[in-house]
Structures are given as C-alpha cells and as structure tokens.
Point group: C2
Chain length 393, copies 2
C-alpha cells in the first residue's frame, strides 16, 4: 500500500538506503536491525506511536528493508512505509508485555527465514528501544550470528540534511517562533503555568504559515525561579510571578522534524545578574554563530563559547549544543554530534544543530538558544524569534 | 531539600519502600537498580523529563534509596525527591551520549562505594530505559555481582492503589471526561485534524475541576477512515469528513497518573456495521464490568468479552485491557496485568485498568473504552463520558 501523502520522494528514500548500506559495508555488517523510531521513520517512512512495544526495521544487503513489529501496528506500517506489503512482518499479540514470551523470539525466526542467522548483524545497543532483555533473547536465539554494536550508524547517515529536510526544519522553526511569540504576548502575572503551557502546546500543533504542527519529542519544560536551576522540570499550576525567571524550552515539529528553541521570561524588573548573564550569552552566541561554518570542528564552537562566557565571569559545565533532525520521544536531539570538548567532528553544509547555551545559576536559569543550519556562507538561524530575555512590565 | 508540594506523604513513600524491599527479599535480591521513570517517580517522587539520558534509583537493604543521573538533573532531584541531599549522585556531562564513555561506568563506582559489588543486584532488563549497552557495561564493570532480572518487580508493587492514588486517577478521569466532551462539542466537518488535536491537548493540560493537567504519556491518537484500521497513528491536517469514523484514544493526566479513554466520532450517518459493532462492544463491556470484582481473574474478563463479541459476529485478536497508574512516555500502561487468555492474576480491590475493547475493522476502527477501578462492590468507572459512538449530524 502506498502512503497517500509521503513525506519524501521514492528517490530520497532510495538515496537514504544506499547511504545506510554504504555505512553497513564500512562497518563490516551483513545486515542491520534498527529500533530507534527516528531511524525507522527516516529509512522507511514508518510513523506511529507504537514504540512502547518491541519493533524494528531489518536491513539486508539487497531487497527492501523489512518492517517488523506487533501485528496490529503492521496495519500502520502498511499505510506509512514505502516497502512492498510482503516486507511487513507482525508478531502475535500474546508477545506483548509478556515476561514468558519475548517478541525477539519472533524476530529470530524472521532472521533465520532471511538466511541471516550466521551473519554479522548490527544492532543499536544503546538505543532506548533496544533493551537488555531484547539483546539476551537475540543472543540465545541466534547463537551463530555475530552481534555488532551499530548504535548511531543510521543517526550519522542523517547528519547532512536534504533540501526537503531543510524545508521541514524551517517549517518547524516557524512553528516554534510562533510559540515563543505567543508566550511573549499572553504571559502575565498570576497566570497558572499549566494554562500557559496548554496554549503553547496548542499553538505548536496548530502550526504556522499553513503548515500543521506535529508533536514535539519532548513536552514543554517551563520551570520558574529556583525550579529553573534544574533543566528538565515540566510544569504545575503555580502562578507566574514577578521578578523570577521562567524559561521555556520548547520545540516546533513538522512531520517529525524537530526545531527546539528556548527563551527566558521575566515579568517586571530583571535582576542585574540576569542582565549580565544575558549579555554574556548573547556575546558568546554571536561569537559562535559568526564562526560556525564548514571546516570548523564541534569542539571549536564549545571552546569559543566557553571562553567568551568566562571573560564575563560565567561558567557552563555541560555541552552547548547537539545535532537535530527527525525525532521521536524521549529526545529531540539526533544523538550524534555534541558541541563540547573532545568532539572533533568537522562541520559541513547541511548539518543542523540546537545551539544551546543554557546557564543554570544559583537562583534560577537562563536559556536563550538558537537552532541553526550550517551553510557554505556560515550559520543560518532557523527561527525568527528575537534574541535576548523576554521582559514584560 | 524538600519538595514544596509533594504528591504523597512521607508515610506513603515509606510504605512503598517497605513493599519494594519485601518484594526484593522474596526475589532474593540484595539491592535493586530501577530505570523505569514511573518506578523512579513512584518510589522517590522524582519528576523530570530527563529519561533521555541514563539515570536510575539504587535501592539497598537499608538506608534511603539513592538517585543517580546526569549532574544537571541532580538539581531536579534535589527539588523533587524525599531522600536526603547526599543520596543524590550526579555523573559528569561528558558521559552524555558519548560512545566512548558509558554512564554506567559511573554507576559501577557508586555500587562499589556502597559495598554492593559482590551482591545480587536486580535490574529491569526489559525496560525502555535499560539498554543492552547499559547492561554490558554493568556486567563488565561489576564482574563479581550477580545481575538478576527484576523487570516488573516495582510495577507489581504498584498494582494496588492507595486512597491518594485513587484520588489522582479520578482527577485524571475528570480531565479525560472533559477532553471527550470538548471533542463532541467542537468537532465539525472540514475542521483540520491538527486544530482539533491542539484543542484536545490544551483542554487536558488546563485540567478539570480546578486540578491542573499533566502531560499524557502518549499523545492523542486520532486516525480517521482507513487510517483507523491501524491503532497507533497520530494526526495530520486532513479535514474531518462525513461518514467515516475517527477514533480519539487520549488520556487525562494528573501528577503523572494516567487515565486513558477512547471514543469514536461520526459526522453524519453511521454505517450499519458500526452500529452493530457499537452494540456488540457495548453489550460485551456491560458483561465485563458487571463481573469485574475481587476474586475474578484477568483472563476471565477477556473470555467473557470475547464470547459476547463472538455472539455478535465480531472478533478481536489483541488483549482487551491493561493495568494503569503512574506513567511516563512511551506507555501509559503499568506493564503488569493484561486482560487476555493466560493472565491468571486475580482481581483485588484497588486495582485500576484501562478496559480497552477496540475493534479494527476492514474500513476503519471503533474504540469505546472505560478506565475502571476494582472495588469490593465491583467495577467503578473513573470517567463520566457517555457510552457509545459520538454522532454529530
């Protein structure tokens, strides 16, 4: 069955598969079993919230990949993937969340049927959706196979974005721009945080410029005051109050492409520390964006950022950004490049990052971040959100 | 540091820990490392969207549990868990998504510091957030320890809900009731699906009866027509049209407690097949809810349901429900009991289920479901949503 409105052309999917097969050959793999939903989606078009059960895509040296999962989700695969219907394999529902019947037993049968049970099989050992039990079941069920870690193999194939992917990321960028504009417009003292988050989520799903919004791979993180010393708290019903920062770490999403961006809101007077932090982050951001171009390394960006920040008396322990693209929960990053010391990856045109210079201070946090595209002419912002703190009297 | 507004009393957390330690003793475990975010939250109060990096809770035979995770998330733990501050252990940011430095190396150090590196350690081998790589790193780093599968051990401790938990589930039930009422009110021909989903999400996060809404562990699934032959598709911008079913599988959430419920919408005339399916599901649901009481087994409910359905000429291959409670993405179920053949668990008062008699037909799907609480007097609905199809002229 063909998707009525596929996200990408057959030629683009064919090019992706060729890129993956080339990476497999380079890694000495005969076949590859991927479970990262974003890798599954990028390679096959599959899209559904079914990753709470075991599923994956099996890629061999020839013939189209095989989608494998719960039988009821095979119906979703039929409606979303580009491969022929007989490349969709479903396992019986009695395997679902059943401690005495692991679904990977069924996958072992499929691997044997393909004649790959004595081959070198790549697996994503450190992916959320490939558990220790899944691994043990494969090891026991396929004793003749060599299981090779291929975590990140497909993710790295995704690092350079195609023109269509860049279009989708720009649409996601327009969505998150609209979300931040909405916060700046409606936030006011006394407003319950959850009521504001409700509007943020709705704005994102409505979309922007006529393009519908998909779900972000992480829900809004919106802590205030001392809660904002911690990066990943979500929300409750406490009212927005004057004089404390609230940061909004949110993403726009278009057809699973994720464009995260953060801004920090103050109602009323901004304390001096935060004005100084804003200036430091702003200057460091300009320094980084001014140098981000093909040939520069990820760690160079981190060094320049941290150096500029240090000159202003601030300090950041964590990475200052990461690669972005297509993603599913629980992470909107691409899990390849990090902007930090030791990451020597060289930037190329077509890479996309969330440049994420968040500072968590003693009494709150400040997040003013930029999703960017690397082009031959330097870094291009994917969002039109104004820089700096969002201050409302 | 103490949470300013903890979800549960110190006594309730103490009782939970005692229940877990008793289960550990029964399973012959000296200590337990849990990574399921809902188990972490239930046992310690920890709440944050940080499960995209490796983290967990380490429970020993005495002293309070230890929270372990990324250093920046330790700040969130400081603000949410009941344990003393020195029971929060953070690892350096360079361990994050770094293929040459797995975070579990740091956990091995903590286990050794506790003197547990020669003990019997329970691990959640089939949890999303315990990868094959995490397991291998622990096996290598703690060669003297015995690693025992404890998947579901804490989840089973959660099966019987406390009065406060039941209050939270009822609040979540009131939220999803309001979400379904909103759909019935605003859905109309030509409305873009994403605009409707935006309103559904916003309604859920606004909450109900003065109680704020948390994020559901799964986003709304809302397929129409032939897409509704598949259970887990989400949405796009296609307009609602007359004469085809759209089901809305959604959840209300209150402080991470999840109350899922589904309804199916028709605009205009309902085809005969769907009226017959509605009658069959309705009768089978009444039969099941009428018999669901302490002493009955999970599989008994499935048998009665499937028998009643068969008498009407319908058939369902998959389980007809599962246990619910506290949850985080990617699953709003509790991953213990399933209402299906072979599950011989006996119902007890205080258990909660999503009774989920969905039918996927050749040309669409019908989902009319009920979250329920088992009481000494039988099954009690957690929602006030009217039964049956939602039909708008």
């Amino acid at each position: 069955m063909t998707h009525p409105n596929p996200a990408f052309s057959p030629e683009e999917y064919a090019a992706r598969l060729a890129r993956v097969r080339s990476a497999m050959e380079h890694a000495g793999l005969d076949c590859l079993f991927i479970t990262d939903p974003s890798n599954m989606g990028w390679l096959t078009g599959y899209d559904g919230w079914s990753f709470y059960v075991h599923q994956g895509v099996l890629v061999g040296p020839d013939v189209p990949p095989r989608w494998w999962g719960r039988t009821m989700d095979g119906a979703g695969a039929l409606r979303t993937v580009w491969m022929p219907d007989d490349h969709i394999h479903g396992y019986d529902d009695s395997f679902v969340q059943n401690p005495v019947k692991h679904p990977m037993l069924d996958l072992c049968g499929l691997v044997r049927a393909c004649g790959w049970d004595t081959r070198r099989i790549g697996i994503e050992k450190d992916n959320y959706y490939f558990t220790a039990a899944a691994y043990e079941t494969l090891l026991t069920g396929l004793p003749q196979a060599a299981m090779i870690d291929a975590t990140g193999l497909v993710n790295w194939c995704r690092a350079l974005k195609s023109p269509t992917e860049i279009t989708y990321l720009r649409r996601a960028g327009a969505i998150v721009t609209r979300m931040h504009a909405h916060i700046a417009e409606v936030a006011e003292e006394g407003m319950r945080k959850n009521d504001l988050v409700a509007q943020i989520m709705a704005t994102g799903i409505e979309g922007a410029d006529g393009h519908w919004g998909d779900y972000p791979a992480i829900v809004p993180m919106a802590p205030s005051g001392r809660d904002a010393t911690a990066p990943h708290l979500t929300w409750d019903d406490s009212p927005l109050t004057r004089g404390v920062p609230t940061f909004f770490e949110i993403a726009g999403a278009y057809r699973r492409y994720q464009c995260p961006q953060s801004r920090t809101l103050f109602l009323g007077e901004v304390p001096d520390t935060y004005r100084r932090a804003e200036a430091a982050v702003g200057e460091a951001t300009e320094a980084v964006l001014g140098m981000a171009q093909p040939g520069v390394r990820c760690e160079d960006l981190a060094r320049v950022f941290n150096g500029t920040l240090a000159a202003h008396g601030f300090h950041k322990d964590s990475r200052v950004g990461y690669s972005i693209g297509m993603s599913y929960p629980p992470d909107w990053g691409e899990r390849t490049m990090s902007l930090r010391a030791g990451d020597t990856t060289t930037l190329q045109a077509g890479m996309t990052f969330h440049f994420m210079p968040a500072l968590w201070l003693d009494d709150g946090g400040i997040e003013i971040t930029e999703p960017i595209l690397i082009t031959d002419r330097g870094a291009e912002r994917l969002c039109a959100t104004p820089p700096g703190l969002v201050v409302k009297a």
